[in-house]
Amino acid sequence: MNTSTTPITTKPDGSTSPAARALADTWTITLRDLQHWRHMLGTRIFNWVWPIILMTLFLGLMGGALGYALGGSYLNFVMPGVLAMTVFLGLEGTMAAVSQDSSRGVTDRFRSLPMSGIAVVGGRCIADLLDSLVSLTVVFGAGLIFGWRPDTTGAEALAVLGLLLLLRVAMLWTGIFVGLKAPTPESLGPINMLVWPILFFSSVFVDTATMPRWLGTIADANPLSATATTVRELLGAPMTGGETWFAEHASTFAVVWPGLLIAIFLPLAVSTYRHLRS
């Protein structure tokens, strides 16, 4: 017995209570995800600015033409849509981060640790929600600089934030599930491509009433449109003539669609994470 080599000098000294550990572990994972921001600051900043770039593009491209049609400014019309788009695009970040971890074996290592089971997904949720809050703030600020003046009350503004975060949570669980299922981060390519038709066949950038009737109906049924249209109402944006059943019930769907996505993907994601791969 060689006593000069004692590899373990500092011993674990944390709490063993499951609740305390769940909290501590969730915080550890959140911190780890936030540390990524610092190490990949360029990517993060680009992600925060990307919605503004898209918005500016559309302002230049369609602002003039659509401004007349709307009897107001395109900026006031598009800003609520851009806020909805911002949380929607968070899906890509969640999918990428989750699939990166699971393909690199990091998720497996977490799973083989005696850590709290909810911490890995819990930490991801907190970090991604923080990320979206920053994103939304950036977009909101840019809108104000561009001359956007939302017409809203405090309660309405809170409702807007609630709806946006609800959609983000739906994207989060969808993203966690898809990310865990993806064999490699590269395999997400086709799914990322799907983001664009969903984005363009929605009321984010254009008035669905100007689309052919069949396309307008599809666009109105898009969960992204439900949130965009409802946020538009709450922020006093020039309203458009969505006459379809989906458009008339946009505010209901702004809650129902994300709720449905969460009801589907949260249990799927949790069981994919928990259960062994076969």
């Binding site: 780890r32 290592r109 799973r111």
Partner: protein, 333 residues
């Protein structure tokens, strides 16, 4: 614990990928590992080593069979198994975007260290694995060997009851390999049971008390390193004559020194030797005296590879100890 002396017990473990009709990867695998020992699982690419490790570490469910690790059932009590094991997988599983230090602090936190102790533990590990200088650089800027060291350090934050190491030193330079071996031996002294997989015989020979040879998903041989070598039998001399026409002459001269049947296969004469050095010297001297033209002469020791080839019929690397008739002749003086 039903059996306090058994750290790992696998009985009739079956696993196939891609459903019941898929490829059978583990075929009725049995394995018993005694507490406090180092068990080597040796096998060529695709033998099923990683699959077996993933099952034992609760990451993969077996299709059939019983898996008990550190006294708990890996399928039904996976939480208990996880709290008692450590895993260092075949591929580096650390967060490449974080620095080495941040990784180790994180893994220490997840192993129940408080923040201050986690920092201290991370420093100890960085020091020990010679990562002090690179500690604050992102892991993605590390060389392969440094990555492996962070990975091992992350697996060794606490001394687990049972540590699984999947190919610990693949791709490492000899110096680092020694460090890794030392780290593993130290853990064993602390009472940790180690199961390691490897493709290197030397590694299994150096570290393992017992070795299981895995071939196509089942254990094809098991024993201590010396027992395994003994199953293959004697050393032998390989003589390649210039001309196969001389074969009767060769046989006549060599059979005196041989411990078994002298045989000719593909132009190479195989002479089993019971008494390694003296028989070899005698045999080569006899050839020298008879001035029989020899193209090549080699002394062969059965290596674990040969055990492998012999038992499973699969090919593995071969080790040759070459000698020339001249040096053999000199040895007689």
């Amino acid at each position: 614990m039903q059996d306090i002396e058994t750290a790992i017990s696998l009985e009739g473990v079956q696993k196939s990928y891609g459903g019941a009709k898929g490829t059978l990867v583990l075929d009725n695998l049995d394995l018993q590992v005694a507490r406090g020992s180092v068990h080597g699982m040796l096998g060529p690419n695709g033998a099923g080593k990683t699959t077996a490790v993933r099952i034992m570490t609760t990451l993969l469910a077996p299709d059939a069979g019983r898996v008990v690790v550190a006294g708990a059932d890996a399928v039904h009590e996976s939480g208990r198994v996880r709290s008692r094991i450590g895993l260092v997988g075949q591929y580096a599983a650390v967060d490449e975007a974080l620095s080495g230090r941040q990784n180790l602090v994180m893994f220490a936190r997840l192993n129940r260290y408080r923040p201050a102790s986690a920092t201290r533990r991370a420093d100890e590990l960085l020091e020990r694995f010679g990562l002090g200088e690179a500690a604050d650089r992102q892991v993605k800027t590390y060389s392969g060997g440094m990555r492996r060291r962070v990975d091992l350090a992350a697996g060794l934050v606490t001394a687990p009851d049972v540590l699984f190491v999947d190919e610990p030193t693949t791709g490492l330079d000899p110096g680092v390999r020694q460090d890794v071996w030392t780290a593993i031996r130290e853990l064993v002294r602390e009472g940790t049971t180690v199961l390691l997989t490897t493709q290197y015989l030397e590694e299994a020979d150096q570290l393992a008390d017992r070795i299981s040879m895995l071939g196509r998903g089942r254990v094809v041989a098991e024993g201590s390193p010396s027992q395994l070598k003994a199953t293959v039998g004697d050393d032998w001399l390989e003589v390649t004559p210039e001309s196969e026409a001389d074969w009767p002459l060769f046989r006549q001269k060599l059979s005196k020194w041989s411990s078994g049947e002298v045989s000719l296969v593909d132009g190479v004469i195989r002479v089993p030797l019971a008494n390694r050095s003296s028989s070899m010297i005698g045999a080569t001297a006899a050839l020298h005296e008879a001035t029989l033209p020899v193209r090549d002469l080699a002394l062969r020791t059965p290596s674990l590879d040969e055990v492998f080839v012999q038992i499973s019929g699969q090919t593995a690397l071969e080790t040759h100890h070459h000698i020339t008739p001249e040096t053999a002749g000199k040895d007689t003086k």
